[in-house]
Every structure is written in structure tokens, then in C-alpha cells.
């Protein structure tokens, strides 16, 4: 199949994308004809240059090229890493000083009381387990400055308007505070004032004063305003965004530039890109680099969006099962869903982030039975040690798949790694079967059914909690273990289609290659639209939105030009966050275009909001008679970037060539032994249909097709399960 096709010399540009995960660094090298190859290396947090070089070399070698050859021909090089997260988790960031609104000096210690983030319901119920996350700034380096700006009230302009200055900025306190923070050795200064998302003037005024003091001292210390990093409501989340940027972003920028240096040394003459948590690619000069916090999982969703565009799929639910987790995401109307806030490593950020639900259960997750004979899976994971069948001391999900015959112990990573089936079987018996009084194979099959059911429920919940119907969705499975379990994950849920891809293991890296070059701009607002609003009022709001979008377009053009993009090539997407008056949560509302000329355009915007809301909630939850409120105006600026292509293949007959058949293998499937046909992925052709019971093996993954099911390979080599 495509992954083994040789590269033709002098055929044009290549696209390279890497996903540096916790265990492996995957590389996808996309060739000019749209085909691609996958490379892998062990992730080395301490030497990302080496992981990068090794993974690219592995991919290049499989198509007969050197790393230098590849880099000289690269049109785009995308790198997703975990550096930012590691900096936060290890606390190894910059020394931060903060200036905050007087009276809010304890914000970083109080954290709004959010001391249970990331805990399961069972954990958070036992409140002895609640604890604060380690602060990213020393409390003594958080100083108050007298100032106050009002944010307006939810009932509209019955009182002072949003942006009203209640207490002017006390410039002397800014000066004293800045000097004190510099004396303390702070390496970066952040500023957070209440309601700066409505009116940033005090923050900017304080920044100018602080920068002057820093300049006078001959220092180079950045001053960062919350209104520039995350101009959205809720001071606790905005603070965390500011801290992430101050604490981690700059040094991560340094390590990413180091990887970029390796790429340049190998002959690449462009800029290394990385992914934003809401789905675009930016280069390492991007100001708000903290927004690249979860670039890896984002890659998978971008890949899904890319597939959706190629195959014309409006709605996709994605399931990524790797070694340690199971991540579920949604593509709605060909767009990636964006959440308003993100919980990362015990912090809640005001960071727009792709909507992902995760369970700590992957192929490497530990399986165990407690004293009450209850079965548990995870959250501990064997990671690269795979399971007891390789190099771990506890039973894992992969062990069960090996013990029951789904995974060939002699063909793991194409046979490079040999697994021990007997040890897996013995562990399954001792750990699960004997304590529960079950036959060892029954126990294994039952466990897989529980795992599959839990993942199945997570899928249902992810879709149902948003109010969507599974019949409107195509289900896409990827990750190394996704195709192994897809038969079970999909059981009992009726999707429009269920698909996977031959390169499932490297799909997140593939998605990174598909990312568009995009910046997102958000501007907080407090525009109220009561029912019976006059045309004059609506016209004023329309004008404000129009002005904001034009300013954002200008800002995008300026910033992206500085990043080497021709502003004339930019395209824009427009949206607002809206709600019924009185609500405190706003809903992202995408708009067709950036036209906002008058009252009619406001009515069109309200109609778009109502349509979106109706998709999420029952009719009884609508409340149009309350009027509407806008809280955020946003814009996405997109630049051209080379994209991979999916090649269209001629369709062969439905029957696979004999050369694709490998063997027959007995598998304990659900409640008994069944003989499965085993096929080689690389030998299958477009148009083939593989009927169950079958297994399609590949060095990177295993696709399980149970009895009475089949897998059709379409013209793009996408596998359709039915």
C-alpha cells in the first residue's frame, strides 16, 4: 500500500510532520503524489534533536532517501511536542513576577478553589484527596496595584457601562512593584487586572511603565498582559493562561527553535511549525505560544477534518487509542469543536482548545481485580514496556489481546519485537480468571468486552452530551490500538459509517501534516441585544463587530507578515460567542462571512445562534424572549500551506489477491474459539472486501474483523467497517 511505495527522485516537495509523544516520536513523510511513509524513534525529552533526527531518518530510509535528501525537498515541517506540558509538570520554568488588581494578591494560591481538576468522580468525592496544584509563581512575587475598571452588569446598561474607570491606575504602585519584582530576580513580569478583557487600557498603561523601568535598568525582561494573552472573561482562568505563557512558553520556544536548528542543519530552509490547541499551525515566533500546549492530540483531529474534506463527511467522531489513553473528539459540520476552557495538569486555562474527552485506558493500561472482585483497567500504563508479554510486571490490555490470539506475538512492529504469549496467558489466569472463578479465555474475553463497553459509553456520552445523534456521524478509529478494538467500540451504536486507515498508528502525525497555518483572535465584549431593540441599537452593535473584525484582520495581517506570510493570501473565518441574556456560559457561533453592516446582519447572527443552540439542547431550553448577549468576537486567519493529498486508486475486484493471505489463526472471540483469516495490509488493494472473521496485520497495527462483519477498502485506501 502507499506506505511502502518508493519516492521518485526530483518529483517536487515533501511534507514532514512529527508527533513527539511520551513514548515514541512518530514521523510522517508525505510524498508529492500524496502517499506517505511512517518513521519511529524513542522519544528523548532531554534531547529532542536526536529523537527528531532518528525518526526522520527512519521514515526517509524506508523510501530510499537520506535525512538530508528529505530536508532539502521539504515544503513544510511540522513538529508537535510535549515540551510545554513537561515544563509545567516539572516546574522548571521561568521565575515569574505578577502585578494584579489590588486586593487580588492571593489569586494564585486560591485558584478559585479548583483543587480537584483531573480527578475522577470517585476521587473528587473523597475530599481528602483535593489539593492545590503547585503554584507557578511564588506568592511573595504577586503584588497588588490600585486600579479598577467595571465590566457592566448582566441586566444591561441600567448601571455604569462596561469599561467604566472606577479607580484610575496608580502609576506609582506600578513603578514600586516593578522594581521590587526585578530586585527579586523575576525573569518575566505578567499583568492581570479585573475586566481587562473588556478594556485593556490599565494593563497596557502598566506594561508601558514597567517596560520603561526595565529599559532604564538595561534589562531584557518581557512584560506580558493578560488581555494580550487571553482576552476573555473569568480572572482565574485568564490568570492561568498568563502564567503558562510567562512560565513556560519562552523556554519551550527555545527548545523548539533547537529542533528547528536540527532541521536546518539537515538542509531545511523553511520555518518549523507547531500546532495550536485549537487546531492551526504556527511557527516558533508566534506570540501566544502557550496555546500549543496539547499539540499532539490536536493532530489527530486535524487529520480527521482533512479526511472529512476529502471524503465529504460533515460529522466525524474520532477515537484514538494509543498506549496510555483513549481520546474521543468531534468534527461537526467539517469543523473541529472548540471548548472555551481547558483543564491541563491541574490548571484551568482560558484557552480555546479542541474538545476532547479522555479516559486513562490504552493498550498498555494495567488490568486488575480488587478485593471486592471488581474489574479495573488503568490508569497505570506500561508505556513502551507494552505488557507482561514483553517487559512489564503487570497484566495489560495488550497482554489479553495476545493471549486470546488477536495480536500475533511474532509480528509486533513487523516482527522486530517478539512477545511472549504464554506469560500473558499465565498472568491473565492468575490475575483475573482465578480470582473471579472463570475460565482463562472467558475471563480475557469478558475483560475485553468491559473495556470495549466503557469506551463505547465514552463515545456515546461524548456525542449525547452535546445533543447529537450518532446516525449523523462517521466513526473514525486510529492510534496503534484503535483498529484492534474498533469492532467492540462500535458495537451497538449505529453510525453513518465506521472507518479506519492503514496508517492508524501514525495518524496524529499525519494530521499535523494536514494542519492549516492559522491564527485565532478573540476579543471579549459585553454587547446586549434585548428583544425589541431599536434598529439604531442593532446598527451600533453591528458597527462594533464590524470594526473589531477589521482590527483583527489587520492584526493578523501584521503578525503573519512578520512570520513570513504574504497577507494577500490570507483568508478569514468569523464567529461570535453568544448567549441568552442572563446565561453565564456563551456558545461558539460560526458565521458564514464577515459582513456586519446593519440590523439585518445582527438578525442573521441571532438566527445562527438559535440554530446552533437547537442542535445542543431540547426545545424547552431555548429562551429567546430573554434577549441575547455577545461576550466574544473572534476571527481565524488562515494562510496557504502545502497539504498532503490522498491518492485515488483504481478499484480492483472485491476479492483480495492470494498474495495478501497470510494464514489462518485461532482466536478466542467473545464466547469461543474461531478461526480467523489473516491478511497482510500492504498487499490489499483498493476495491477489496475482507470478510470476517479476519485479521488484517500491519507492522504498526492490527485490524480485527469479527464474524458477519466485513471491511471494504475504498479508492483512497480507507477501510470501511460494516
Amino acid at each position: 500500500m502507499s506506505t511502502t511505495a518508493p519516492a521518485e527522485a526530483d518529483t517536487g516537495d515533501l511534507i514532514l510532520a512529527l508527533d513527539a509523544g511520551g513514548t515514541m516520536t512518530d514521523a510522517i513523510l508525505v510524498k508529492p503524489d500524496g502517499t506517505f511513509t511512517v518513521g519511529k524513534s524513542i522519544s528523548r525529552k532531554e534531547d529532542q534533536q536526536k529523537s527528531y533526527r532518528d525518526s526522520v531518518a527512519d521514515a526517509a530510509q524506508s523510501i530510499g532517501l537520506s535525512s538530508e535528501d528529505v530536508h532539502k525537498r521539504l515544503a513544510a515541517d511540522v513538529y508537535c511536542g510535549t515540551g510545554m506540558l513537561n515544563t509545567i509538570l516539572t516546574g522548571d520554568g521561568r521565575k515569574v513576577g505578577l502585578l494584579v488588581t489590588r486586593g487580588f494578591e492571593d489569586l494564585t494560591v486560591m485558584e478559585g478553589g479548583l483543587s480537584y481538576l483531573g480527578q475522577s468522580q470517585a476521587e473528587s468525592l473523597h475530599q481528602q484527596l483535593h489539593k492545590h496544584t503547585r503554584p507557578l509563581v511564588e506568592p511573595k512575587n504577586v503584588l497588588g496595584v490600585s486600579e479598577r475598571i467595571g465590566g457592566g452588569c448582566y441586566l444591561g446598561e441600567i448601571h455604569l457601562p462596561a469599561g467604566h474607570v472606577l479607580i484610575p491606575l496608580n502609576e506609582e504602585q506600578v513603578k514600586v512593584g516593578t522594581k521590587k519584582l526585578l530586585d527579586e530576580g523575576c525573569e518575566v513580569i505578567g499583568i492581570l487586572f479585573l475586566y481587562s478583557f473588556v478594556d485593556p487600557r490599565h494593563e497596557h498603561q502598566a506594561k508601558a511603565i514597567a517596560e520603561k523601568i526595565i529599559e532604564d535598568k538595561g534589562l531584557e525582561i518581557p512584560v506580558v498582559c493578560s488581555a494580550d494573552v487571553a482576552p476573555v472573561a473569568k480572572e482565574n482562568s485568564r490568570l492561568k493562561s498568563l502564567l503558562f505563557q510567562c512560565f513556560a512558553a519562552e523556554q519551550v520556544r527555545a527548545s523548539l527553535l533547537n529542533v528547528e536548528k536540527a532541521a536546518r542543519e539537515l538542509g531545511f530552509d523553511g520555518r518549523l511549525l507547531t500546532l495550536l490547541s485549537y487546531g492551526g499551525a504556527v511557527n516558533m515566533d508566534y506570540t501566544r505560544l502557550y496555546e500549543t500546549m496539547i499539540s499532539g492530540p490536536v493532530g489527530g483531529l486535524i487529520g480527521a477534518q482533512f479526511l472529512g474534506n476529502v471524503l465529504d463527511l460533515d460529522n466525524i467522531v474520532t477515537a484514538d487509542m494509543g498506549g496510555t489513553s483513549f481520546d474521543v473528539g468531534l468534527i461537526i459540520d467539517k469543523r473541529i469543536g472548540i471548548a472555551k476552557s481547558a483543564d491541563i495538569a491541574g490548571h484551568r486555562l482560558a484557552l480555546p482548545m479542541v474538545e476532547l474527552d479522555s479516559a486513562g485506558q490504552g493498550a498498555g493500561s494495567v488490568v486488575w481485580v480488587d478485593e471486592y472482585k471488581r474489574l479495573h483497567v488503568g490508569p497505570e500504563s506500561a508505556g513502551a514496556a507494552v505488557g507482561i508479554c514483553l517487559n512489564y510486571d503487570r497484566l495489560t490490555v495488550t497482554d489479553i489481546n495476545v493471549a486470546l490470539g488477536y495480536v500475533d506475538p511474532d509480528y509486533f512492529l513487523g516482527g522486530q519485537v517478539k512477545l511472549n504469549k504464554e506469560i500473558a496467558l499465565k498472568a491473565l489466569k492468575e490475575t483475573v480468571a482465578d480470582p473471579l472463578g472463570l475460565d482463562v479465555y472467558e475471563a480475557g474475553a469478558g475483560l475485553l468486552q468491559i473495556i470495549n463497553t466503557e469506551m463505547n459509553d465514552l463515545l456515546r456520552t461524548m456525542i449525547a452530551s452535546k445533543g447529537y445523534d450518532t446516525h449523523d456521524f462517521t466513526m473514525l478509529y486510529y492510534g496503534g490500538a484503535g483498529p484492534v478494538h474498533m469492532y467492540g467500540f462500535a458495537e451497538g451504536i449505529e453510525f453513518k459509517d465506521v472507518i479506519t486507515i492503514p496508517w492508524a498508528a501514525g495518524f496524529s502525525a499525519f494530521g499535523a501534516a494536514c494542519a492549516e497555518y492559522m491564527h485565532r483572535y478573540d476579543r471579549g465584549t459585553r454587547a446586549l441585544i434585548p428583544n425589541q431593540s431599536s434598529d439604531e441599537h442593532l446598527a451600533k452593535i453591528a458597527k462594533d463587530i464590524h470594526t473589531t473584525w477589521r482590527e483583527m484582520e489587520h492584526e493578523a495581517s501584521t503578525q503573519m507578515k512578520a512570520e513570513g506570510i504574504d497577507p494577500d493570501t490570507l483568508t478569514f473565518r468569523y464567529g461570535v460567542s453568544a448567549r441568552y441574556m442572563g446565561q453565564i456560559e456563551s456558545f461558539n457561533t460560526a458565521l458564514e462571512n464577515g459582513v456586519m453592516d446593519g440590523p439585518n446582519d445582527i438578525q442573521t447572527m441571532i438566527a445562527a445562534f438559535e440554530t446552533m443552540y437547537s442542535k445542543v439542547y431540547p426545545e424547552g431550553a431555548k429562551f429567546g424572549s430573554a434577549g441575547y448577549s455577545l461576550t466574544d468576537i473572534h476571527l481565524e486567519a488562515i494562510a496557504d500551506k502545502p497539504q498532503p493529498k490522498l491518492l485515488r486508486h483504481d478499484l480492483s475486484s472485491s476479492e483480495a489477491n492470494a498474495s495478501a493471505f497470510v494464514e489462518k489463526r485461532d482466536v478466542y472471540h467473545k464466547d469461543g474459539w474461531i478461526s480467523f483469516d489473516v491478511w497482510e495490509m500492504g498487499e490489499l488493494k483498493a476495491g477489496n472486501t475482507v470478510k470476517g472473521p479476519s485479521i488484517i496485520r500491519d507492522p504498526m497495527t492490527t485490524v480485527v474483523i469479527p464474524p458477519n462483519k466485513e471491511m471494504y477498502i475504498d479508492e483512497y485506501l480507507i477501510l470501511h467497517y460494516s
Binding site: R102, G103, F104, E105, D106, V109, M110, E111, G112, G113, L114, S115, Y116, Q121, A122, E123, S124, L125, H126, Q127, H130, K131, K140, S146, G151, G152, C153, Y154, L155, I158, H159, L166, I167, Q173, L194, A233, K234, E235, Y372, L375, L436, Q449, I450, T453, T461, A464, G492, G582, Q583, I584, E585, F587, Y617, P618, E619, G620, A621, K622, F623, A626
Partner: protein
């Protein structure tokens, strides 16, 4: 019977006669449970045994339905409490109201679900005029619905299969305003239920998962925050609709017979697990506790003369492990009164189960199983179970939280005794909130509640380390105070000048409690009027229950300060506005802040009209310490001085016997030798002050015998002595005649 069948056939709304009525279902549930000791008579977990995987899958689906309901529906909300904090909950129950699964949120409401269902059963709601699939019922009445106070509102949606109610979807949240004479969520100064605001016994308000049109008018005409309340109502219904749909699908998939058997087994399974947990963590014995709360009405209730008196509320409870779980006996608790703090058994349950769920259900399915394992005794006539059906239940949390503290604290002591040191800490539930109403300059009227200090509090000291600030909420698993930027937008003329930890605001000990919080609210251009009250759930200035453990001090109570007529413009011009309660008092003492009318409120305040530049300052959320303060590591004291956590040197010098001085850099330096000397002196001082127990007892007995008490104390004793158990204990301890009574006044 023939006559009834005929009537049923002639009335389409009436349920099919073949299905059991709700009353029959409840009777069967009780008969089977009481006769066997097992829930619904389930002795064998047959489904779990036969096919544990299918059984777990069944429950997983049920549980995920309620989790999903909350995660989606809460975004419809208007109030920060529901959207940001843990002040909402969804659940699914059996036909009889027994909880099967719960979402995240304030889970102790689970114990209340059966009350409304049983009321509807007893009053034949399903017979006349019928309960249909997707109907919507609203409840906010304590007596008939068990609701802790009318500020909490419940929505019930029945799930009906072939004419039989098989489950209920339930949604709850805390309203921002509920239409009482005293505006806000807690109608302080209510005299009876008719002053409690919108009190609704179980009542059908909608059909087919939609509210009926008139229901919107109720919110608009009977509350002061209609928009918020309507959106919260829609939020509850949206979640219930999701659970309703998911439960129907579950029954379609598994079959009604499997469903009916499985739900009984799920509850019985969790009951057994809870029992195991109790047995493995509770040292046998009787754990007693007492708490007090002042209701200061004297002089404020001149219209309602029968309520014009002060009351010292006595909450008394004992916790005793037994073979069926735990018994909580509250005999000796004060009688009900003409004030806002009366509870009902439902409200009392809501408090008791806060700590019980945390301690015994966290590692199993959270179901009605926990309720079966806790036997409760709330004596009839007491403040926890009034024998008058018209008592006010506007603000029972203000005293029932102490009931939880006694229970939770008992478990903590038991865990300590057992050696589970990492589980044992000083339990408290010191909360605060403020509320009110206003009229803007343009005539727009509004109501509000700011319950940020209900969202989280500090945790008391552990037996091996200090407590932490703002880390938990005894009543909810989701401690969150929300954002100032959200709360400020709900009260037009009030602006934050501070929202922070309050220095020195914790119980001292070898390990100190976590510091509590304080906020300063500034009135700017109030329009025609703004009035503020504070329900002061912080349990007044009297001792709550976190007495401090093993020789430590309790957490100080919550309080508030009103400062009217200030020179705030001058202070603001200097950039020195007060940031918390401590700074506020220091600035007024120093004369920097001039105040015409300064009041420190340690009990509920009547409505305070605020003018431009007036200040309203509150403090809540402190907690108690653990161990003798003289055993505190002196360097920990120095760290508290340097960090400002406890900045008062004179205080720590006397409390901890630590002697220190400031160096040229302004940092505190310990004088080890002088500290040793000081501590020896303080210990000797204790010995010098101590008296023989016999002498102490004799002297105190004279006071008791002569009833030389404040009137409120005398009245309190009289009420408690009207219960036999307390009378026995009291007269026995003081060696008084059994018929002894304290004369009022």
C-alpha cells in the same frame, strides 16, 4: 374494585389499573427491605453473579447518562453557582425515589429524593390525575419534598413504561433569588413558612418534557430574578430530558425485567460495600458532639411579637457504629421556633449525608445504599423534625451544617483512632453569603445572591500537617468559588475591592487550620435603592463544631462588617482601599479610613441600605487546628509571620510562645532560647490557672442549679431538657433531680 376500573376507563389521564400504584410500590419496597434487612429483599446479587460484565455494563450506561446530563445541561444556567460551582446535581432513581446514580455536584441531596416521591405516592398523584411519561414536577417544600430550603429547587421527570412509573430523572440547583420578603436565597427573619418565598409542594408544571406556559409567569411574578430562575429551570429540565431518553434506551436494550432486578441489586450491592467501609474504619463506641447557633430576633420582629426573641440553638448528636451501619441520634437538640432555621427530616438528611458519602461511598456506586446504612433519629418536635407543619425552613443550613460536622468529625476521629492518619483532619463547614434586592436609577428592579464563600472553604488541620486554604466544600465535591468577574456582573452597584485570604483567620494549633477568605464590596452609585442582608451561614459567633482537635483552637466564625458613610474617595486616591476584613478594621482604627457608621455583625444582619462609597466586608471559610499550639514548630510560626499568613507577632508570641525579632531586611528571626523559656512559662501559667475537677464541678453545678444563665442559655436548656435522653445525661452529670428544669429568664 369494579367501580374504580370504570372510573379509570372514563378518565384517560388515570393510570392503567394493571400496573402497581406508586403507593403499592413504596409499600412493597418497605416491606421487603424491613422484613429481610436487605434492600428490596435482595439476598443474592444474582445478575452480578451470573454475568458480572453485563451487570457492570448496565450500570456504566446508567451512570454515564447522569454524568452527561450535568456536563451538558449546566451550560444553560444563569447562576454562577450552577455553571461554575458544584451547586447543581442530577440523578436517576427507582420508582420509589431511591437513588441509582448521581452526577457530580452536591451529592447529599440524594437522601431527599424519596421524600417527594413518597408524598406523591401517599397522595395518589398517579391515580388522580395520573403521572405520564415525560411529565415535569417542581418541588421546593421542605415538609412534602424534603428540600433543605426553598432556595434549592428540584425538578422530577417520571419515566413511565406501560403505565408504570419505573424511574425518575431528578435535577436540582440553588436559586439566586426565591421571592421571600427578605430577598435572596435564604429568607432570614422568616417567622413561618408563609415568609419563605416560593414554596412549592410536588406539583406538575409541564408535560412531554416541556414546561407549561403558566410556569414562566410564576418565576416572573413570584421571584425577583426571573431571568436567572427561568434559565436555571430550563437547565434542570434539559438534564432530566437527557436522563429520561437515556433510561428509556437502556430499558429497551436490557429489557424491563433485567432493569427491575438490576436496580435492586445495584442498591443492595452498594449498601453492603458501605457497611464494609464503616466496619473497617470506625472504632466501636459513641461519638458525641454539640454545636450552637444564635438567632438574634429580639427587637427586630415587633410586628410578629411571638417571634420577637433571641434563641440559642443547640444541635446535639451522637454517632454510634452498629451491625447495620451507623446510628445518628440527635435527641437533645433544641425545639423548633418562630425563626428561619428550622429543618425538616429531609433537610437534616441533606446535612448528615455530606460527610457520610465522602467517607463511605466514594469507592462504590453512589446510590441509596448509603441511606440504608445510616439510621437517623430526629426527635419529633425538635428543630430537625418540627411538630408544626407551618414552621419556616428558610435557612436550616445555618444550623444543620453543624450536624454534618458532628458526623463527619466523628468519622475523622474514628479514622484517627484506627490509624488512618492521612484521612483524619479537623472538619468544619464555615460558609458565608450575601444577598438582597435593588432598584436601578431607571426603575429596573432586581434580586441577587453572591454565594462565593459557599463555594469553598479552607480545610482544618490534619494530624500531621497544616490545613490548606480554599480546598474543599463540606457540602459539595466540587469546591469552586467562581470568578469575581462573574459575580460582580450579577449585582449592578457593588464592586470588588478585594477577594483574598484573611491573615490570621484560622484555628491555631500544633498544626493550624487553613486560612479563611474575605472580600470587600464597594457600593458605587446605588440607583434608587440597594439593600443587602447576610444569612451568615458561618454559624454566628458561637462555637460551631470544629473545636480544634487534640488541644487546638477552633476555626473563628464567619462575620461581616458594614461601613457606611466613608471617605473612600480619599483612600482610593492614595491607592490604599481596604482589601479584607482585617485591613478594614486596622484602617478605621488608624483613622486612615473614616466611617460614620461601622458595625461588625456576628449574627444575621437585617437589611442594610447601602449608599455611594459604603462598604460591605465579609469573611468566612476558616477552619480549626490540631494539637497543642505550644508544640508548633517555631520555624513554622516564623514562616507564617514572614508570609503574612499570621502577621501579628504579639498574638503568636502568646499563642505559640515563640520569641522572634525582625532583622535589617525585615525578616523575622527566631530566638530559640527565649522561645524555650517563654513556652515553659506559658505551660506553668496553665498549671497555675487550673483547678481541681471536683472544685470546678462543684462551682459550675451551683450555676446550673441556680439557673444563673443568660436568658437565651436558660431557654436552650429548657428545650433540650424536654427530651428524655438529654435530661438523663444532664441531670445525671450534674447530680440534679430528674425533674430539674431551668427557669426561663
Amino acid at each position: 374494585m369494579a367501580t374504580i376500573e370504570k372510573e379509570v376507563l372514563n378518565q384517560p389521564n388515570l393510570k392503567a389499573i394493571t400496573a402497581p400504584t406508586l403507593a403499592e410500590a413504596v409499600e412493597k419496597r418497605d416491606r421487603l427491605t424491613e422484613s429481610t434487612g436487605n434492600y428490596y429483599g435482595v439476598k443474592e446479587l444474582s445478575l452480578k453473579k451470573a454475568d458480572p460484565i453485563r451487570y457492570e455494563r448496565f450500570y456504566s450506561k446508567l451512570h454515564s447518562a447522569v454524568l452527561a446530563a450535568r456536563e451538558s445541561a449546566r451550560y444553560v444556567a444563569a447562576s454562577p453557582g450552577s455553571r461554575e460551582m458544584g451547586e447543581c446535581l442530577w440523578g436517576v432513581t427507582t420508582a420509589e425515589g431511591d437513588t441509582l446514580a448521581l452526577s457530580l455536584g452536591f451529592l447529599s441531596h440524594t437522601a431527599i429524593f424519596p421524600t417527594a416521591v413518597r408524598y406523591m405516592a401517599a397522595n395518589n398523584y398517579d391515580v388522580n390525575d395520573g403521572i405520564e411519561d415525560g411529565d415535569v414536577y417542581g418541588v421546593s417544600d421542605g415538609l412534602t419534598g424534603g428540600v433543605p430550603h426553598p432556595g434549592d429547587f428540584y425538578s422530577f421527570v417520571p419515566i413511565v413504561i406501560e403505565g408504570e412509573v419505573v424511574a425518575w430523572a431528578v435535577g436540582i440547583n440553588h436559586l439566586m433569588e426565591n421571592g421571600a420578603p427578605v430577598a435572596g436565597s435564604w429568607a432570614t427573619f422568616s417567622v413561618d413558612t408563609f415568609m419563605d418565598g416560593l414554596v412549592v409542594p410536588p406539583m406538575r408544571t409541564g408535560r412531554k418534557l416541556q414546561q407549561e406556559s403558566w410556569w414562566k409567569a410564576i418565576w416572573e411574578r413570584r421571584t425577583r430574578a426571573a431571568t436567572m430562575n427561568i434559565l436555571d429551570d430550563k437547565m434542570r429540565l434539559a438534564g432530566c430530558a437527557m436522563i429520561h431518553e437515556a433510561t428509556h434506551k437502556l430499558i429497551d436494550e436490557f429489557g424491563i425485567d433485567y432493569y427491575k432486578t438490576a436496580i435492586r441489586e445495584v442498591i443492595e450491592e452498594s449498601r453492603r460495600r458501605v457497611l464494609d467501609n464503616m466496619k473497617s474504619t470506625m472504632v466501636p463506641g459513641t461519638y458525641t458532639g454539640a454545636a450552637f447557633r444564635m438567632a438574634q430576633y429580639k427587637g427586630l420582629q415587633t410586628i410578629w411579637s411571638h417571634a420577637d426573641k433571641n434563641t440559642l440553638i443547640h444541635i446535639r448528636a451522637s454517632v454510634e457504629p452498629n451491625e447495620n451501619g451507623l446510628k445518628i441520634d440527635t435527641e437533645g437538640t433544641s425545639r423548633w421556633g418562630h425563626h428561619a432555621y428550622n429543618a425538616t427530616p429531609g433537610a437534616s438528611d441533606a446535612a448528615v449525608f455530606l460527610g457520610m458519602i465522602n467517607s463511605f461511598s466514594h469507592n462504590t456506586k453512589v446510590t441509596a445504599g448509603i441511606e440504608l446504612a445510616v439510621q437517623r433519629h430526629y426527635p419529633k418536635g425538635s428543630i430537625l423534625n418540627p411538630d408544626n407543619e407551618f414552621t419556616s425552613n428558610a435557612n436550616p443550613w445555618a444550623q444543620t451544617v453543624t450536624l454534618n460536622n458532628i458526623g463527619f468529625g466523628a468519622v475523622s476521629r474514628a479514622m484517627f483512632s484506627f490509624g488512618y492518619l492521612e484521612e483524619a483532619f479537623c472538619v468544619d463547614g464555615n460558609w458565608g453569603a450575601w444577598q438582597g434586592q435593588g432598584t436601578a436609577e431607571d426603575g429596573t428592579a432586581y434580586g441577587f445572591t453572591n454565594f462565593e464563600w459557599l463555594g469553598g472553604s479552607s480545610r482544618g488541620a490534619w494530624c500531621f500537617k497544616d490545613g490548606e486554604p480554599l480546598v474543599w466544600a463540606a457540602w459539595s465535591q466540587m469546591a469552586t468559588i467562581g470568578d469575581a468577574e462573574e459575580f460582580e456582573s450579577t449585582v449592578p452597584p457593588m464592586f470588588y475591592l478585594g477577594r483574598k485570604l484573611l491573615p490570621g483567620y484560622f484555628g491555631a494549633g500544633k498544626y493550624r487550620g487553613g486560612p479563611g477568605e474575605s472580600a470587600v464590596h464597594w457600593c458605587v452609585e446605588p440607583g434608587q435603592h440597594i439593600g443587602i442582608t447576610r444569612p451568615n451561614g458561618g454559624l454566628s459567633s458561637t462555637t460551631s463544631v470544629a473545636l480544634g482537635m487534640n488541644g487546638a483552637y477552633p476555626g473563628p466564625s464567619s462575620f461581616m462588617i458594614s461601613a457606611r458613610g466613608t471617605n473612600l474617595d480619599e483612600v482610593n486616591a492614595k491607592g490604599l482601599a481596604p482589601r479584607d476584613a482585617r485591613e478594614m478594621l486596622e484602617m478605621t482604627d488608624s483613622g486612615l479610613l473614616k466611617v460614620d457608621d461601622l458595625k461588625v455583625w456576628k449574627t444575621d444582619c437585617p437589611e442594610l441600605s447601602m449608599e455611594h462609597n459604603d462598604l460591605f466586608v465579609d469573611a468566612a471559610g476558616s477552619s480549626g487546628g490540631w494539637g497543642d499550639p505550644l508544640d508548633r514548630d517555631p520555624m513554622a510560626v516564623i514562616e507564617d509571620l514572614d508570609s503574612g499568613t499570621c502577621p501579628d507577632y504579639d498574638f503568636v508570641n502568646e499563642m505559640h510562645g515563640v520569641v522572634a525579632s525582625k532583622n535589617t531586611l525585615g525578616n523575622w528571626v527566631l530566638d530559640t532560647a527565649a522561645t524555650e523559656v517563654k513556652r515553659i512559662a506559658l505551660r506553668q501559667g496553665r498549671l497555675d490557672e487550673s483547678v481541681d475537677v471536683k472544685d470546678w464541678w462543684t462551682k459550675e453545678r451551683e450555676i446550673v442549679q441556680n439557673a444563673a444563665f443568660f436568658p437565651e442559655v436558660g431557654l436552650m436548656y429548657n428545650e433540650s431538657l424536654s427530651f428524655d435522653k438529654f435530661r438523663d445525661e444532664f441531670t445525671s452529670f450534674w447530680n440534679l433531680p430528674h425533674e430539674f428544669n431551668v427557669l426561663e429568664g
